[in-house]
Structure formats: structure tokens, C-alpha cells
């Protein structure tokens, strides 16, 4: 008689002699599933998964078609930094618009995570990202200030050239579960460090609604021509040059300090001798 309670212990493989084979098999399966889940839920330290994203807005002036309350049409979005499909990590994105909009809380259950609207005013949009259950049960907030009007107000407004404001950031999961890691191991949207040698992952378990008809990447997005390029190379060069300069000056100062200290010690000695 096997107890069908949800004990998490691994049941050793023993053939059941009694007639209730099906039941015992089923319980065995449940138990092994539980143990799998436990393994998948195990958290990994020193392996962090980061998801590079870009979020912002593109806004077009409506020109002749502009009315008093709708002078611009704009789209606010969160996309992968290399336009990859974020749906593998992000389950849902919620955009909180200004209360003057109809249904200001816009929920997007699948990528591309964007909201297009028409309006006249600039305001802060709160974007909340919800992740799949094996990724993280806590949502993450981003804030973006909607920009409709160009910086240079003197230039002529054009319906062809939009105002684009994008911010690059990375969503970091410091201790991802093995299941999450297994699932996204080779996905282009995420960045993984090299796994420790001899590290084996369990086979990936697909998450709910992983099968989608619509493609989630934004590579051929209608607005993709306006997307900005974020390359870390320039910034790294800048930083490296700056660091070099600072280090050189530090070395110089250290030398100078030791020079000052030298005669200083002698003076102290001469004073005490008096």
C-alpha cells in the first residue's frame, strides 16, 4: 500500500506486487515530477542571467491631421536590445498611462510589448514587467517619460521624422533557478556567463503559453528603422582612457607624497633633538 500523499521523497524503484499497479505507477510519476520540480527550482549562485532591454517611445507629429487633443501619435514599448524575443523571459507587461486616457492600464500578454496611442501631452509612464513563474515571482518597474516634442523647438515639425527617446538597461537575475537557466540557455535574448565546468542542467521544461503564433521579436518591426543602436564599445573605450589618465595621476601624486615625507621625517628628528 503506497501512500499517495505528496511526500517529496524519491521513491526507490520497486516493482509493486499488489494489484493496484496503475495507482502506484501514477503516484510514482507524481513523486518524480515533484522531485524534478525541486531540482528545477534549485537556485544557482554566481551565475547571473541578464536580459538586455531597450525601452522608450517613438512619436510622430500628425501635421495637418492634428487636432487639439491629438497632435501626435506615439508608441511606447519595451524591446530586446538586439530585437530578440523577450517573451521567453517576460510573461506580461503592463503600461500605466495618464489617467486621462481610456483604460489607462494597458496589459500586454505577449510580445511585442508596446502601446500605441494618440495624444498631445507628455507624462511619465510606469511599465511593470511580470516574469514567468520559473524566472521570478516579483515584477520589475521601469519608468519612462513620454517625449513628443523635439529638443530643438525652433526647427520645423515634420510628419516624417519622429521624436525617438530610448533607454538601455539590463534586467538582472542574480540567482536564477536551474529550470530557467535550462530553458533559456541558448536563447539569443539573454546573456549568460560561462557555466562552471562539468555543470549539467536538467532538460528544460517549457512554460505555459510558450507556444505562440505571433512572433515576439522586433527585428522586422514597422518602427525598427528608428530604433537606436547601443554599443558598449564606445563607452568602454571612453572609460578605459579615463581610467588610464586617473591611474597615471595617482602614481604621480604617490611619488610626490613620498618626496614630501622624506625631508619631513628629518625635520621631526631635528626638532626632537633640540
Amino acid at each position: 500500500m503506497t501512500s499517495s500523499s505528496s511526500s517529496k521523497k524519491l521513491v526507490p524503484d520497486q516493482p509493486e506486487i499488489s494489484g493496484s499497479t496503475t495507482k502506484s505507477l501514477r503516484t510514482k510519476m507524481i513523486k518524480s515530477e515533484d522531485s524534478e520540480k525541486r531540482i528545477l527550482n534549485k537556485k544557482l549562485k554566481d551565475v547571473e542571467i541578464s536580459l538586455p532591454i531597450v525601452y522608450g517611445n517613438i512619436s510622430f507629429w500628425l501635421g495637418k491631421k492634428a487636432s487639439e487633443y491629438q497632435s501626435h501619435k506615439w508608441t511606447v514599448y519595451v524591446r530586446g536590445a538586439s530585437n530578440e524575443d523577450l517573451g521567453v523571459v517576460v510573461k506580461r507587461a503592463v503600461f500605466q498611462l495618464h489617467s486621462s486616457f481610456n483604460n489607462p492600464t494597458r496589459v500586454l500578454e505577449s510580445p511585442p510589448f508596446e502601446v500605441s496611442e494618440a495624444g498631445w501631452g507628455e507624462f511619465e509612464i510606469a511599465i511593470t514587467l511580470y516574469f514567468h513563474s520559473d524566472v521570478c515571482d516579483k515584477p520589475l518597474n521601469l519608468y519612462h517619460h513620454l517625449k513628443l516634442y523635439p529638443e530643438d523647438e525652433s526647427g520645423p515639425m515634420s510628419t516624417k521624422k519622429p521624436v525617438v527617446v530610448e533607454s538601455y538597461d539590463e534586467v538582472v537575475f542574480p540567482e536564477p533557478s536551474e529550470g530557467f537557466l535550462a530553458r533559456v540557455q541558448n536563447h539569443p535574448a539573454v546573456t549568460l556567463p560561462r557555466l562552471p565546468a562539468g555543470f549539467t542542467l536538467p532538460p528544460p521544461v517549457p512554460v505555459e503559453d510558450a507556444i505562440r503564433k505571433k512572433r515576439g521579436d522586433t527585428k522586422d518591426h514597422p518602427l525598427s528603422q528608428w530604433f537606436m543602436n547601443f554599443s558598449e564599445a564606445d563607452e568602454l573605450l571612453q572609460l578605459a582612457a579615463a581610467r588610464q589618465q586617473v591611474q597615471a595621476h595617482i602614481a604621480k601624486l604617490r611619488r610626490q607624497i613620498s618626496v614630501v615625507d622624506g625631508p619631513h621625517q628629518q625635520q621631526l628628528k631635528s626638532l626632537s633633538d633640540q
Binding site: L140, D169, E175, E235, L236, R243, V246, L253, H264, L271
Partner: protein, 440 residues
């Protein structure tokens, strides 16, 4: 009346005119003193009238005849029967009786008196002759245990602590010797807490140190204490976070705890104190970093920019607002974005390291300035003359990336005299020198 005409107000009828006056009288309240004098008290009656106003104008009862006479008097406070004279208030030809009114203030200390036998029995001491001890006790009696005066008057030179030690140990020994049983006097403060010479010397020396601390020292001490507090707090954080793999904070904490006790009680010269604070800084930095990392890990998900902010804050936790502003200024002048435009992991790490290096640079610049200041003032021999100088100099951010400028100052100092930032021009020294692009 005319005023009322001018104002156009209706004239008061006669009965109305009379009313205000009695009202005014009752408001006045004081009778016996003039209105102006009463107004000095605030114009209102006090809650508890200290002096009944009516008493103020009272004259002494006319049945008493008061004269003032120049009469002799004696005081019980004097032992020499000196007779002095003073004005005495004589009432009805009866001079006042009683002791001189100030005699009761003649208090003195009960200094213990020992006989020669007692001295031989209990009080001999290799460091003190009987003669000296007698002299000491005589002075103590005369000067009511004012040891500073006694030390000054003492024929042979002895420190205040030595005199106090001798006096208290003799008194204590006498107390114990004369007591019927030791239990009787065990509660006496002399017996319970004997005078501790070495402790007193240390205490006074420490007080002297604290008193003569320069502003520079004070700030260093405050810094060290603040860092120690921060380390203690970060230890609390890591304990709460249950991170067992962070040996750094626990290592740093006892180190800094030891070092904070150094400026507190003991005699360490100023250079010693500087070293610990410099050594504590890096260990605090790593402690801060470690605790920030721990708290980030607790979050389960966070943005890279948020993490960078936290790390930057942790790294600059020991720096003041001005220093932080200077770091940002330096970043801008180096052409680096204050917030990286592409905050990848690598970029953020580099950015953080750059900020830390700039902090080190600024600290070194400050150090160099101090060393030069100390050097020159030693040469002058007028160390006490320039108490304000270190204070002034802290706020001169020498942004010169070129060592040349610092070198020039060295050369100027060949002449004995003041630095270019001498207090004679405090306004100048407080203005920060502009960083020139040509210095890059």
C-alpha cells in the same frame, strides 16, 4: 475734544466722559507705586506678586528709632581677636547681637592629622620623607586641598598627581588604621575607590590631547567613528541577510573597533591616527560593497542601472557631498557620462572602478596638501600660529591633474614664510581652482 471734532466723531456727553477715567484707574491696579514703575514689571500683575506693591512705599514704623553707628565687631571666623569696625543699624539704641553674619561661610576641609607614632607605624613611604609629608599636610590644611596651589607652593618640585597620591594614601591608611574594624570604613569613598596615579596621569594626558586636537584631527576621528558605525551596521545587514560567506565585514569590524579605541583613550600621536583611518577606509569600502551585493542578491530581480547606483553610493559612503560633486566634475571633464549610456555589466564595472580611482586621487591630493602644510609649519617653528590653515586648505580642491602645479608650490616654499594659501587671504583659498582643459 478737538480731536473728535477733527475726526468728525460725535461729541461725548458729559456722563460718558466721566466713565473712562475710573476705568482707567482700575486698570492701573498699582496703588502705592507710580504708573511708570509698575510698567517696568510688564504692566500686568504677576501671578504671585513677589512684593506686595503697597509695601514698596511703606515707611518704617514710626515708633522705631533707627540710627546707623560706626561700631566695632568680632568674627568667630578669626582666631586672632582682631577688632574691626563697620556701620551698624541700631534700633532704639540697641545694637545688634550675634556673630558676624558672614562667619558661617568660613568652612574648611577636615585634613587628617597624624601623630609621629602613627606616622612610623602606618605611613612611611620610600618616596616621601616625614618632613615632606608634614609640609604637604600643612599646605593641604592651609589651602583647603587646592592641589594646584599646593603644588605651586610645595618646596620641592612634585607633580600634582604625586601630591594627591600621597595625600590620599595617607588619609586612607589613617582611616583604616583608626577604624575599629575594617568593615566600618569599607563604605567610605577613600577606601572603596583609592586614588590611581597612573590612571589619573593617563586621563589628564588624554584630556590634553582632546583639547589640543586640531580641526583636522577632529574630523579624522569623526570619520573613523562614522566608518566604524557603518561597519557595525553592515554587519547587522549581513547578519539579517544570513550570508555566511562574507568574511570581509567581520574582519573589518574588529580591526576598526580596535582602531577607534586608539584615538579615544590613548596617547597616539596624530600621524598614528591618520594611518588607521586610511587603512580602515579600504576595508570599509569592501564591507560596503559586500553588503550592497548581498542586498542586491536578495532582490531576485533588479535593473543594472539600479545596481550601479547602489554600488556607487556604497563606494562614496565615506565621502562628503562636496567630494562627490568633485568626482562628478572630474568625470565630466574626462568626457565620461555620469550615468553610462549603455550600462552593460562590463561598462558598469569599469564605471564603478573609475569612480573609486577618482576618489583615491582626490584623497591623495588632499593628503599631499596636508603634508605640505605640516612641512612648512614645522619649518617656521610656528605650529601654533596657523591653527586655521589646515581648516582652510581642506576646502581648496586642487583639481590640477598636472603635477606641475603642485611642484610649483614646492618651489615657492623655499622662502621661510607662508604658503600661497596662507590665511592672510582666506577668501582666495576658499575659492576652488578651476580645472583647465589644458591640464589634461
Amino acid at each position: 475734544m478737538d480731536a473728535k471734532d477733527i475726526l468728525g466723531l460725535p461729541k461725548n456727553s458729559l456722563p460718558q466722559e466721566k466713565k473712562p477715567r475710573p476705568q482707567k484707574d482700575s486698570q492701573r491696579k498699582p496703588d502705592g507705586i507710580s504708573r511708570e514703575v509698575y510698567a517696568l514689571t510688564g504692566g500686568l500683575a504677576p501671578l504671585m506678586p513677589a512684593i506686595d506693591a503697597s509695601q514698596l512705599k511703606k515707611r518704617p514704623p514710626t515708633d522705631e528709632k533707627i540710627t546707623w553707628q560706626w561700631l566695632p565687631f568680632t568674627s568667630s571666623a578669626r582666631k586672632d581677636n582682631l577688632q574691626l569696625y563697620h556701620w551698624t543699624r541700631v534700633v532704639n539704641s540697641v545694637p545688634p547681637t550675634g556673630d558676624y553674619s558672614f562667619a558661617k561661610y568660613n568652612k574648611s576641609v577636615d585634613v587628617v592629622k597624624y601623630t609621629d607614632e602613627e606616622y612610623e607605624k602606618y605611613l612611611t613611604d620610600p618616596m616621601w620623607t616625614k618632613e615632606e609629608t608634614d609640609q604637604l599636610f600643612d599646605l593641604c590644611q592651609r589651602f583647603d586641598l587646592r592641589f594646584i596651589v599646593i603644588a605651586d607652593r610645595f618646596p620641592s618640585s612634585r607633580t600634582v598627581e604625586e601630591l594627591k597620591d600621597r595625600y590620599y594614601s595617607v588619609s586612607r591608611a589613617m582611616l583604616i588604621a583608626r577604624a575599629p574594624s575594617p568593615g566600618d570604613v569599607s563604605g567610605h569613598p577613600l577606601v572603596k575607590e583609592p586614588y590611581n596615579v597612573s590612571q589619573e596621569i593617563e586621563r589628564k594626558r588624554a584630556l590634553c590631547m582632546v583639547l589640543s586636537q586640531t580641526k583636522h584631527q577632529e574630523r579624522k576621528d569623526a570619520e573613523v567613528l562614522a566608518e566604524a558605525k557603518r561597519i557595525a551596521e553592515s554587519r547587522m545587514v549581513t547578519r539579517v541577510a544570513e550570508e555566511s560567506e562574507l568574511p570581509v565585514p567581520s574582519n573589518a569590524a574588529p580591526e576598526s573597533a580596535e582602531r577607534t579605541s586608539v584615538p579615544g583613550d590613548t596617547v597616539s600621536p596624530s600621524s598614528n591616527v591618520q594611518l588607521p583611518s586610511a587603512a580602515v577606509a579600504p576595508s570599509t569600502a569592501t564591507a560596503d560593497n559586500a553588503s550592497t551585493l548581498a542586498s542586491l542578491r536578495m532582490l531576485r530581480v533588479y535593473l543594472r542601472t539600479y545596481a550601479l547606483e547602489q554600488m556607487v553610493q556604497a563606494a562614496s559612503s565615506s565621502a562628503g557631498l562636496r567630494t562627490i560633486k568633485r568626482v562628478e566634475q572630474t568625470l565630466q571633464e574626462l568626457g565620461v557620462n555620469l550615468k553610462p549610456r549603455v550600462p552593460t555589466k562590463l561598462v558598469c564595472a569599469e564605471h564603478l572602478e573609475l569612480r573609486k580611482e577618482i576618489l583615491t586621487l582626490l584623497n591623495l591630493q588632499k593628503q599631499l596638501q596636508y603634508k605640505e602644510a605640516e612641512g612648512s609649519s614645522f619649518r617656521d617653528g610656528s605650529y601654533a600660529d596657523t591653527p586655521g590653515t589646515p581648516k582652510d586648505r581642506t576646502f581648496v580642491p586642487d583639481m590640477s591633474f598636472g603635477g606641475e602645479r603642485v611642484g610649483k608650490r614646492d618651489q615657492k616654499r623655499k622662502a621661510p614664510g607662508r604658503l600661497s594659501e596662507a590665511p592672510s587671504s582666506p577668501a582666495q583659498s576658499k575659492r576652488p581652482r578651476k580645472f583647465k582643459a589644458s591640464d589634461l
